[in-house]
Amino acid sequence: SQTIHQWPATLVQPVGSPLSLECTVEGTSNPNLYWYRQAAGRGLQLLFYSVGIGQISSEVPQNLSASRPQDRQFILSSKKLLLSDSGFYLCAWSVDGGSPLHFGNGTRLTVT
């Protein structure tokens, strides 16, 4: 069966520090991969999605970037965190663009 791993579960970082969140999927090949951010009372915002290695689509301009160095690995990064980057970050995967999303357990990021 397919599983998705996301880490770390929680992270506290100072303003201006770098960020790297990692997500890996097991049990499937060539999945679509997604990064969402969840802010209180605002639902989920799609940040990036990828349909293949090295293929990244960005949905909103921001202080973050994403990379897909391997088929089942998706990384969310920042060179310098802002206070506004605080939130709950969720990685997800789907078999293809027409299939439901399956989410990881999320990373709670607090920028101080």
Binding site: Q6, N32, Y34, G41, R42, G43, L44, L46, Y49, V51, E59, L90, A92, S94, G97, G98, S99, P100, L101, H102, F103, G104, N105, G106, R108
Partner: protein
């Protein structure tokens, strides 16, 4: 504009009572509709989905949802709520055969009293 509205931010029910969570959408194409549930500090779990066929769909954990095209609604229901159902519920809509850009509602937090 495409959007999903969950008008109830917070709902409180007694254990054993029936439940209905509202979801209204605005979407230009044939919609592909979902309900997800999120327990505190966790990711989202798919409850059910609809894209065609019978407008009443059954999901996991005893939930069901009814698609009403005329009302642009996809309300989630459960006949008897259990304390373990306390969580946040999200409705989402995407294009048929293209869920790369799902639009999520802002969620409804369900609290269950014994």
């Amino acid at each position: 504009a495409q959007s999903v509205t969950q008008p109830d931010i917070h709902i409180t029910v007694s254990e054993g009572a029936s439940l209905e969570l509202r979801c209204n959408y605005s979407y230009g194409a044939t919609p592909y509709l979902f309900w997800y549930v999120q327990s505190p500090g966790q990711g989202l779990q798919l409850l059910l989905k609809y894209f065609s066929g019978d407008t009443l769909v059954q999901g996991i954990k005893g939930f069901e949802a009814e698609f009403k095209r005329s009302q642009s609604s996809f309300n989630l229901r459960k006949p008897s709520v259990h304390w373990s159902d306390a969580a946040e519920y999200f409705c989402a809509v995407g294009a048929l055969f293209n869920t790369d850009k799902l639009i999520f509602g802002t969620g409804t937090r369900l609290q269950v009293f014994p």
